[in-house]
Symmetry: C2
Subunit: 410 residues, 2 copies
Amino acid sequence: MPISEKDCEALDASDPLAARRDLFALPDGVVYLDGNSLGALPRSVPERVNAFINDEWGRDLITSWNAHGWFDSPHRVGAKLAPLLGAAPDQVLVCDNLSLNIFKILSGAVALRPDRSVIVTELGNFPTDLYMADSVAAVHGLEVRTVDAGSVLDAIDDDVAVVSLSHVDFRTGEVLDLPAITRAAHEAGALAMWDLAHSTGVMAADLDLNDVDFAVGCGYKYLCGGPGAPAFQYVNRRLHAEFRHPLEGWHGHADPFALTRGFEPGPGMTRLRTGTPAMLSMVAFEEALEVFAGVDLAQIRTKSMALTQLFIDLVGERLADEPFELVAPADASRRGSQVSFAHPDAYPIVQALIARGVIGDFREPDRLRVGFAPLYVRYVDVWRAVATLCSVISTRQWDQPHFHERSTVT
Amino acid sequence: MPISEKDCEALDASDPLAARRDLFALPDGVVYLDGNSLGALPRSVPERVNAFINDEWGRDLITSWNAHGWFDSPHRVGAKLAPLLGAAPDQVLVCDNLSLNIFKILSGAVALRPDRSVIVTELGNFPTDLYMADSVAAVHGLEVRTVDAGSVLDAIDDDVAVVSLSHVDFRTGEVLDLPAITRAAHEAGALAMWDLAHSTGVMAADLDLNDVDFAVGCGYKYLCGGPGAPAFQYVNRRLHAEFRHPLEGWHGHADPFALTRGFEPGPGMTRLRTGTPAMLSMVAFEEALEVFAGVDLAQIRTKSMALTQLFIDLVGERLADEPFELVAPADASRRGSQVSFAHPDAYPIVQALIARGVIGDFREPDRLRVGFAPLYVRYVDVWRAVATLCSVISTRQWDQPHFHERSTVT
């Protein structure tokens, strides 16, 4: 029997995470399936930011760096995030953006393996990860060995300094085998850096358990930290003492207000700080993390897999005659919290969906991509998204000229 | 005849900038003389940020990158700031923090002079400028030639790739001769980078007029952009085509959403972008710049010089018997908008002043530092600050034990 809307309502009724949706301010009538690009707004953020601006910046002014803990915020927000990474709190720091943090970590990592000449990465990695690998390689005279995801294990040999990969492929949603690849890197004497941008908040990475060396990720996707929220960095404690990178700035100094001539790296994660953190963005992120308070990551993962499977099943049932080609692992355990379908008219279809209040995104060259944030996406939202897609297709609504016009950002 | 409070009131009454103070939300009873560390809150910022959070992030979600111009914001805020720098708008970009931008600019600058081996800077430059010079020199195998401010011209020879200096010394408030040093650098075939952190918003730099190559600065001091506001970068248009740096990320790509494998630098300042901008901090900065709308920089500079002179004169008149030693040029035209006095008990004195609502700051080793933001500091504020200082000294209030306790940030 085909899946019905009632089936979806029943799933919502028994969803242990259902109440979390009330923690978000979601626009009426919108099905938001782009939390993998920009997470929805947690309801408590506006008031917190307003208090920050008026009472901390406005009233207490410069004294707030101490009085309100601004100076320690990169560590404090890192510690708050740490449980979602499976990390002890003193190994996570929140600051700057993901691109910059990739540069910091990769630079520092290759310096720990000065006798090795290769950075391994894969073709499907996010572009900025690849650009930074190219840049670090150029600075240090190294080779970037870029292979497809299936060949990563074969590419790790004794010349490899660092393996730099994304936990979840941003185009296909494929989950790479973080434990096995990290182990293989270590067995070859290499270090492993994982970009968790598309996994943190929807699945465990168990960084400590897997003895991962380095991880990075952003705050603005599933973590709901707000547009351009500061990014995070994880450095395994066993590497803290020797880790150095070229972007060491005064906030990373052992005694920043001594304002001395030579850089002395601060203890632990301190040395990964650069300059003054963007406090408005920081405080929004800190408050946003409250939506994860006390949450069970296993419940999130279970619901995430169910949501992606439901979307795939509904498209299969209801749009079997359309040229939608699944670009995601069929096995839910190997999928992140997103699904992509290739379709020759993906671009105007995505625009028509957005016009109807179903927000996903388009990714080159021909992908409709939808992401499912388990804290606020319901099973009925998946139903409505596919029902709207059916309507857009059956009426050929997508074929209106203005849905074909390309904008700069999609 | 000694200066009186009435004299100060008269100066305020005839101050053409007096009305600007109403644009700020200042706490009652506080004399705020630390705008050189963290600018006061412009009144219109809270409402703008609130609208941004609720209507752009919350309601319009991912579509805001286009619909509300988020993606272009680093350029747009740069263009809004450009008149304060004396720069054509397409040469200024706002993103990341000052430390990171120094690294970008210095790295790119030395790469434009591959046959040269020296970065010239001065001992009084801000520490993070020196750390980044050290780091760039280490990466490129260069020498950092660190001299005192008076010897900069002598240090510029044919080996010099870049001269990296602060326009205003953060400890002494001394203004370096930007036009003459830039000319000397060019005559020697070198490039000049100026850190305008302590000058933008209180004096002209006339970057285009002086044919400066590069400039950087932060948004959170006199520009009042909020704690950790994104920083700015200026690259002279004649260098745009060839400028490259190692932190090139996807937002700097010529076609960022093509998400292609190789980095292709975007036109003009685009290539100085790294990753996703911290939008909450960005939008606060953008709104804050409204306090400068239509302002006459010459009026700001005139008032700034008058305020620093008034402070010096009042200390001279009223505290002549105390061991205060002026650590600032006696000539107002060679001073920025701050004044420092050395005093053996500067630390507890500053703490006692703060306890009385007069907020300046302490800088190692023995400096009381006060800054004067001409848009919101009145002449009577200077009177009250010195009157309070007299009271703190005469009653030995500063010698209470808790004023001697050191905190992490001052």
